[in-house]
């Protein structure tokens, strides 16, 4: 048994009991009475700002009213009608930046209606019943390939299946779910929720998932375009940006997404090694997820080092506070210059930064802090474009998700436009499905 103070990157810093407690649900689900009280706070606004703020346009006042009148199943149907991954979104959406930020009660009293938790209450209730709320339309005889079984692909596949098309979903990984399965902090998706959600979603029928098949190798875009009536690409961003500094290749330096993935797939968290002094480079949700989970695994000191100021951080203030409340130190305006160590990382050298003439430059003042584990969380990149036209570093798409190639749509993190959020991916997958449907049925 190790402790928080054991040097190096080692497993078993905490007891199984502590780990299990640490990785329990971040927010306990609402019980019936709590949900009733929370729901009663909704004003049922006209043309509600929360709906406008929701990328999937869920009719939030309606579903909350359905909860308050004792019909959470109807509430869930309202949610799922717009967002079939409403269960996961209820857990991972940065509601503080979306619906709850727009809530008039946030403006009025700084305490929004707890929309996220209410959504979870309703969706959990319906999903637990094991009933799928929708029935497929009559078969259209059309078949569509969806590449990538993440939020965008699953959302697209479900909508297409609902409309009567047959869908084959390909995914490079052994499991479906994409970032829901591999890339979100464990305490946001407990009890194997991502996998259960995929199973539940699939129960609509008409969807086949083939895992272990990545676009490129055995699966060319030309081949599937020829085989299927339409193709949707939702492959996400498979690559991780490098830091490009000395020591980047030392043992103990790795990608935050890999760490999170290992953690999500670990059958026993006490087997997972973590450093005593962990430094996470980056300023997004991935950085926060990696930092907080390092702390929860038993790291003694965890630092997030971000090269710009707090206001520029893409992790929300809520996420920043979550990290801080777990004892993670947030450092702003510092950039990594080098990782030092003899074979394995021991220290990281950081340099203070400032903005001069709109450019971020080092001030020359440096410091070294102990770091036996360094995580890169400075963004992901598209690794597969299938020869499609790009916009910036992503696949260029229209509002309806059409790519430069006829018969091929794209959505989610791999495509241009929108925030890289689960909920945005769901909206894009759904909207592409509607456009594919309109195209295939000639109803354009």
């Amino acid at each position: 048994m190790n402790s928080q103070f054991t040097p190096g990157v080692v497993p078993k810093r905490l007891s199984t009991e502590d780990l299990s407690h640490n990785f329990d649900d971040l927010h306990a689900p609402l019980v019936v009475h709590e949900a009733a009280v929370a729901a009663d706070r909704c004003y049922f606004c006209h043309d509600a700002p929360c709906v406008t703020a929701c990328p999937t346009d869920i009719d939030i006042p309606l579903f909350i009213r359905q909860i308050s009148t004792g019909t959470p199943e109807a509430a869930a149907k309202t949610i799922f009608g717009m967002n079939i991954l409403g269960g996961m979104c209820a857990r991972v959406c940065p509601t503080e930046d979306l619906c709850e930020q727009a809530c008039v009660r946030e403006l009025a009293e700084g305490k929004p209606v707890e929309i996220g938790r209410l959504q979870r209450f309703a969706t959990d209730k319906l999903m637990k019943s094991g009933v799928h709320p929708f029935n497929r339309a009559d078969p259209t005889g059309k078949c569509v390939a969806v590449v990538g079984a993440g939020p965008a692909g699953l959302s697209c596949a479900h909508r297409l299946a609902l409309l009567g098309h047959d869908v084959t979903v390909y995914d490079a990984r052994p499991k479906a779910g994409g970032l829901n399965e591999y890339g979100i902090a464990a305490y946001k998706s407990t009890d194997d929720f991502a996998a259960r959600e995929v199973d539940w979603l699939m129960s609509i029928g008409g969807i086949t998932i083939e895992t272990g098949k990545a676009l490129g190798d055995a699966l060319s875009l030309d081949a599937i375009s020829a085989e299927f009536d339409a193709v949707f690409i939702g492959v996400g961003l498979g690559g991780v940006n490098a830091m490009g500094i000395a020591g980047d290749d030392l043992a103990g330096v790795s990608d935050a997404v890999s760490f999170i993935e290992d953690l999500r797939q670990a059958s026993d968290l006490s087997d997972l090694p973590v450093g005593r002094n962990v430094v996470v480079i980056g300023g997004g949700m991935t950085a926060v997820d990696a930092a907080v989970q390092s702390k929860l695994l038993g790291a003694e000191q965890v630092t997030i080092a971000y090269r710009r100021g707090r206001e520029a951080m893409s992790a929300s203030r809520y996420e920043q506070d979550l990290a801080a409340s777990h004892g993670v130190k947030l450092m702003f305006n510092v950039k990594p210059n080098a990782v030092h160590g003899n074979g394995a990382a021991a220290e990281i050298e950081l340099e203070y930064t400032q903005i001069t003439d709109g450019k971020l430059i080092g001030t020359g003042e440096t410091m070294r802090i102990a770091a036996d584990q360094v995580f890169r969380a400075i963004g992901q990149t598209l690794t597969m474009d299938g020869g499609l036209a790009l916009e910036g570093r992503k696949i260029a798409v229209t509002d309806a998700g059409r790519t430069s190639r006829d018969g091929v749509w794209a959505g989610g993190d791999c495509s241009s436009g929108g925030d890289d959020l689960t909920v945005t991916a769901v909206a894009e997958g759904r909207d592409a499905a509607m456009d594919i449907h309109a195209t295939l049925t000639g109803d354009v």
Binding site: Y43, D47, L107
Partner: protein, 434 residues
């Protein structure tokens, strides 16, 4: 410093808050606890004639209309009068009164509509030393089927007759408790007056089915699959009760008749409103049944604070002050013009005012693309709906239009003269202004 001491029909109590005749006042144990908590008086739960007492159901007696967070808004009950022996009650009343001489104890009574029945019980009550009696002519459930309670209260002749017997065989004040389950509350009140009643208390509970159990397909509370109508009380009935109080206060026949106000009194403010409408004191039940006896402490401190703020030294200082301002609709000033006004600093942009006005009223609120809401004076009839549906108190207010300005809705200049429907040209029965 305000003095809450009340003298109602010559009966003194340290404050105007009495517990109404109901479950909280059924026993010595409860009443002692109530007095210790600070209640000014109690009306002891209704006694029946000597002999085997009534029996209650052994299933649920209460049902509730809940508001947010299970707040009790309305309560319905099917409990009967006391189901304890008459003499046990009488002994307890005597003991408690002896121990609390400064508190009011009124004995509620309900016996058959026969002179002998009243003649028999009244000396027994007199003997207890209680301060007065209240005739339960109000309970709408159970006892009414046996020709008592509301069955008496719905027949003015019976009220007059029984009241007269009571005044004949009992020396202390007689209060007649009225049922609201009638068309015109002034009729039974006037009958009580004719019979010699010292006061009326109102209202008793309202006939009600509180809810239907959709699984059992039966009214709530449900006893072995069946339900019966009950008596409705609690905050929900206060507006109905206050209307009846005001009718008695301003009817020429009954004006000046002392009243004890009952119906949904939950806070000091409710009590102040009843007193402003002419009640000499108030009786409380549901608030105590919901929160316990301690709730009276807020009622006392709140009423004291408000009276101090207003400079009222005693209850009498404001008793009945609102009565002159209760008028018939036809006497409302039709020349008074107001317009809604939305305070943009307070507005939280929920749009409820817009939805209410646009969908159900006068299309007098405009909504901009950036969710700014403003009143269209040319359409606003000052109905007040927006004020009431706005979640932010005082964000929308009604602003009186000054004489000399033009109402853009009617195109007419606002005048400061009073004019009402009786003289309005659109009224076919208009009479010349006096």
């Amino acid at each position: 410093m305000a003095d809450l001491t009340t003298e109602f029909l010559g009966i003194k109590s340290p404050n105007p808050f009495w517990l109404a005749s109901a479950p909280p006042t059924d026993k010595e144990y409860n009443v002692r606890r109530a007095f210790e908590a600070g209640w000014g008086g109690v009306v002891w739960k209704t006694l029946g004639s000597e002999g085997p007492p009534v029996v209650n159901v052994n299933g649920p007696r209460y049902g509730v209309v809940h508001g947010a967070d299970r707040r009790v808004l309305g309560l319905n009950n099917i409990e009967l009068i006391t189901d304890r022996d008459l003499f046990v009650n009488l002994e307890e009343i005597k003991r408690v009164k002896a121990d609390y001489p400064d508190r009011a104890i009124i004995v509620s009574l309900m016996v058959p509509c026969e002179e002998d029945a009243w003649k028999a019980i009244l000396p027994l009550v007199e003997e207890t030393g209680a301060d007065g009696i209240e005739l339960n002519f109000g309970c709408p459930h159970g006892m009414a089927e046996r020709g008592m309670g509301a069955a008496v209260g719905q027949v003015p002749e019976y009220i007059e007759m029984v009241t007269r017997w009571c005044k004949q065989y009992y020396s202390k004040p007689v209060i007649v408790k009225l049922t609201p389950n009638i068309t015109d509350i002034c009729q039974p009140a006037a009958a009580a007056m004719r019979g010699g009643a010292d006061a009326v208390s109102l209202i008793n509970t309202i006939n009600s089915i509180i809810s239907v159990d959709l699984d059992q397909m039966a009214p709530v509370p449900t006893i072995a699959g069946k339900g019966s109508h009950g008596g409705y009380c609690g905050p929900a009935v206060k507006p109905i009760a206050m209307h009846m109080v005001s009718e008695i206060a301003r009817s020429p026949e009954t004006a000046g008749l002392p009243m004890s106000g009952i119906g949904g009194i939950t806070t000091w403010r409710d009590a102040a409103e009843y007193i402003a409408l002419g009640c000499g004191n108030v009786q409380v039940c549901t608030a105590a049944m919901t929160y316990g006896f301690k709730v009276v402490q807020e009622m006392i401190s709140g009423l004291e604070q408000w009276m101090d703020e207003k400079g009222h030294m005693s209850i009498d200082d404001f008793m009945g002050s609102a009565i002159p301002n209760v008028v018939d609709w036809q006497h409302l000033d039709l020349n008074y013009v107001a317009k809604a006004s939305i305070n943009q600093d307070d507005c939280i942009s929920c749009g409820r005012c817009y939805a209410a006005c646009e969908d159900t009223s006068h299309q007098a609120i405009a909504m901009s693309a950036d969710r700014k809401f403003s009143v269209i004076d040319a359409e606003c009839v000052a109905c007040n709906l927006c004020v009431e549906v706005c979640p932010v108190e005082n964000c929308i207010t009604m602003v009186e239009q000054q004489p000399g300005t033009t109402d853009p809705r009617t195109g007419k200049v606002v005048v400061d003269t009073y004019a009402n429907w009786t003289t309005h040209p659109n009224n076919p029965s208009a009479t010349a202004a006096e």
